[in-house]
Symmetry: C2
Subunit: 130 residues, 2 copies
């Protein structure tokens, strides 16, 4: 059970990495590209980011285990690490919410696990509060 501390450290890094507009944009852009990925240049072009800034954020995501980089000729291709993202979400659900169906109910609400398409609400915390 010392492993769970390392697990938390890793998740904290992933959450910190996700907690930034630019990096969330990067994940969103890269996900549809799947394992094929996208060269850095085209990413920067798509999001209108200066090169050093792009490198900075991609490095952060890579270090957090959320994206992978591979060199192809002159380009560096970035792609999402599905396992990294999935396990981060999994940790949130299990470590925080294992015994709390109320939380899971809100998770499932997004229809991710419901092929019938019930409830497409992507409305996050707070929106329903005011």
């Amino acid at each position: 059970m010392d492993q769970s501390k390392a697990a938390q450290t890793q998740v904290l890094a992933a959450l910190a990495a996700l907690a930034h507009v630019t990096r969330l944009d990067l994940i969103r852009l890269l996900l549809p590209a799947g394992d094929t990925g996208m060269p850095a240049g085209r990413i920067g072009e798509a999001l209108g980011l200066p090169a050093p800034r792009l490198s900075f954020h991609l490095a952060a995501l890579e270090q957090a285990g959320l994206v992978r980089a591979r060199r192809v000729a002159r380009n560096v291709i970035y792609s999402v690490d599905a396992a990294g993202i999935g396990q981060t979400i999994s940790y949130l659900m299990n470590d925080c919410c294992a015994d709390h169906p109320e939380v899971l109910a809100h998770c499932a609400h997004g229809a991710a696990f419901r092929p019938d398409g019930q409830g497409v609400g992507t409305t996050p915390a707070g929106t329903a509060k005011t």
Copy 2:
């Protein structure tokens, strides 16, 4: 579809709030207490936190929509906002991973949605990489 930007802002706040050891500890401590919650004093005692620091982090969580506070006599009772946490997770799954079963596979791996108990792995990103 301008609502999705507000949604993202809210999720970013929630992710930033979660991306801190102390605050993740707070969530973990408060979740088992459910709606009953826990007075600030006892929380600080349980985690060994000085009062101002506790207030600072609880305020951050509250602002992010992850916990709620209510006053009872001299005490302030804090409890988790299940909807806030659930919707944050939901956003990650839907906005980032809607079309990507590979990610969802890793999410489900934690057994949250599998009563059969298959795969209790709480192992987060990266652990399986080195």
